[in-house]
Symmetry: none
Subunit: 221 residues, 4 copies
DNA sequence: CATGAATGAGGATTCATTCAT
DNA sequence: TATGAATGAATCCTCATTCAT
């Protein structure tokens, strides 16, 4: 992630390459340690020393790779958001970008993202909430991107399948609502009830609800 | 709220009554100060001294009425949750407990609760998230109650209007989803975009989406 | 104890007498509550509110009867010291003020004072130590009085039995030493080992040691 | 004292050695500052900030070396106890472990320990009394060790000199009594009367008393 | 690059004491 | 006299951050 030497195009020496690899490895090790601690102890409770200990580096090293504690959370938010959008986006494209694909993307969110990465769920949906203006800004940006993803997907489906929105319903509100469903269902069943094993069925019900809501707003659906 | 002398049925003396009133008044003053500061500065940034200053009392007085800072947040959560459920519940009952009433309750959430009490929105949806196990417990309890309210309302509508759920869709998942929509729409448009003036239309779109989703899961709707 | 109206010799009215009695009763109730709490929770840990609660009076009432928390401890020290010296003194006089009487006084300390009043032991030997210059002053005065009691008793025995101190041994050092034995034996077996039931035998051993020490310093013993 | 790297046997690098030394030095500096302040101002009155100031470090540094204020007192108790037992033990062994040695050990307590370290006297005999259950536990452990030292010494003398205790006198009670004499004589003449210069003679009188008490309990002494 | 000791501002909390009623 | 709400100074402790080695 940290792009040292980004513009410099001369090939790196062997040892420089190794150092580059080690650097990247350390960066990820620390980030992973922070993720685990933030998720399990809470952002506020997890101290930089604990994070350093868990990553088996010194406190100073953490500050070498990250500006400060907030930065750790922001980077985490970035990586988790990237992964989440990837999982959803890939599922959508893989199934042909029609309404069925939209559903499959929803399933992927629950079954691939939430079930496999409960700690990442805890970070985006719980630990990054209400922390600081800076974090909130990044959080907003991430959620806006996701909302736009959903919105684009909806539009794509419209175009591909010849649907049209009935009346003046704001598609953005629909997208925001869908995000809300994803978020709270994940929070409720993963973070509060720890029922990962049931999430497949839960996700199917949620998607049935969502698709019902969408189809009702279309003409000729 | 603090029920001194709850079981004791002898009528209070005049001066005791006045003290009781002043007591209640102080309690509310401090709670209001905390609400404002938590919403605007953030729970972590707001210090007990600031709260005391804002309420025009001493730090000690805050600790006389509340066990600690966490308790302040928990009481706030309780009062806000009570108000929110009241607004929704009243709107539902007033309109006859049918699907129309369900919709009106949703409108009430957006138009009466969110628009009039943006700070309370900030507390339940942002500042109380991921704070401590104790706060989280109370948050979960509140959201569980709300989910149950929605669930009961759905069931009532079913019975009153002779609807039946198509297939095995879990009504609980639907209820959780609806809560998710309420929460994120409020967060997005009130806390992030500060578009209280548009919330009426936004709420109508959200409700159209929700009702569409519900009706699609009913037989004979 | 609090001698209101000490010099005024006109006989008190009935109601004034009753008030006087009630006043005395309250004073003792509070002092007893403080004793129990100081002994069991420790002087520092026991709050004035706890003391007031235990005595079933208001905080203000405690301050009506006692100047401050320190005063509570000082009064306690006074009363306990008075009781302890009484027990020892009476035993000494009752047995004729000879060496046997000295021994009996020692037995009385262990068997009558320590065994019956472990909380008072905790106050004089533990809770009043190292608290404040003022308390320490009173503690010193009390121990000085006790040391003098022992010293006088020794001298009385000398005179009565025709003994004389061998050489230049300071009788005061002996008296201080004896006080030290009393104190630490009480502390060790009552406060640390809670072995009140064995204290009779323990006291006998201690006294055998003390008497041996004394007799060795006498000529013609 | 703080044994970083205790098991690791590889020789430390030069700079690591220096760090180790500095670490140890700081630790002792802080402890010394605490000792002085506890002894002169009292444990309760001495604030962590004062201690930090006196040691010329930051408050944080104090907490880097010690868990909390209580820990400071406990470590102090440990070091002082170690020193005191060493002084006594060495004197006893140096003089041949007979009754004369026992007496010399007593002299050493008064003349070497009390006179040279009045502040340490204040800590063990005054400032550590009745502070908290944790401190009291350590205090008890220390006094138990001392009592055992005295007991062992007595037994050694018995064996070496062919003495036997007359009757059933509990040697433990004698040991506790001797500790009591040491403690109160030190408290009385050092902490209350500040008569260090007379302590030599005072100690001799106390020891005469003790030895008299002991010899009287022996057969064939 | 890595280390980890040192910093010190900041904040929550306590509790003896006061005083209006 | 009695009450108990109110005060606010005092203090312990945390922990993100820095920087000399």
């Amino acid at each position: 992630m940290p792009a040292k030497n980004a513009s410099n195009q001369e090939p790196l020496s062997k040892s420089a390459q190794r150092r580059q690899r080690e650097r990247e490895f350390r960066y990820q090790t620390i980030l992973k340690a922070a993720e685990t601690l933030f998720a399990n102890e809470g952002y506020n409770m997890a101290s930089m020393e604990q994070i350093a200990d868990a990553a088996e580096v010194s406190v100073g090293a953490v500050y070498f790779y990250f500006k400060n504690k907030e930065d750790l959370l922001i980077q985490l938010l970035g990586e988790i958001g990237y992964l989440m959008r990837n999982i959803l986006g890939r599922a959508f494209k893989k199934h042909g970008a029609d309404m069925e694909a939209f559903k499959q993307a929803g399933y992927a969110f629950f079954e691939d993202f939430c079930v496999n990465y409960p700690e990442k769920c805890a970070i985006i949906f719980r630990e990054s909430v209400g922390k600081s203006p800076e974090v909130e800004k990044h959080r907003k940006e991430l959620f806006d991107k996701c909302t736009n993803d959903v919105l684009s997907a909806l539009m794509t489906v419209c175009n591909n399948q010849g649907y049209k929105f009935k009346g003046k319903f704001s598609a953005e509100v629909i997208a925001v609502s869908i995000m809300g469903i994803y978020e709270r269902v994940a929070y409720h069943y993963i973070l509060w009830q720890n029922r990962g094993e049931n999430l497949k069925n839960i996700g199917r019900d949620a998607l049935a609800f969502i698709l019902g809501g969408i189809s009702n707003l279309f003409e000729g659906a």
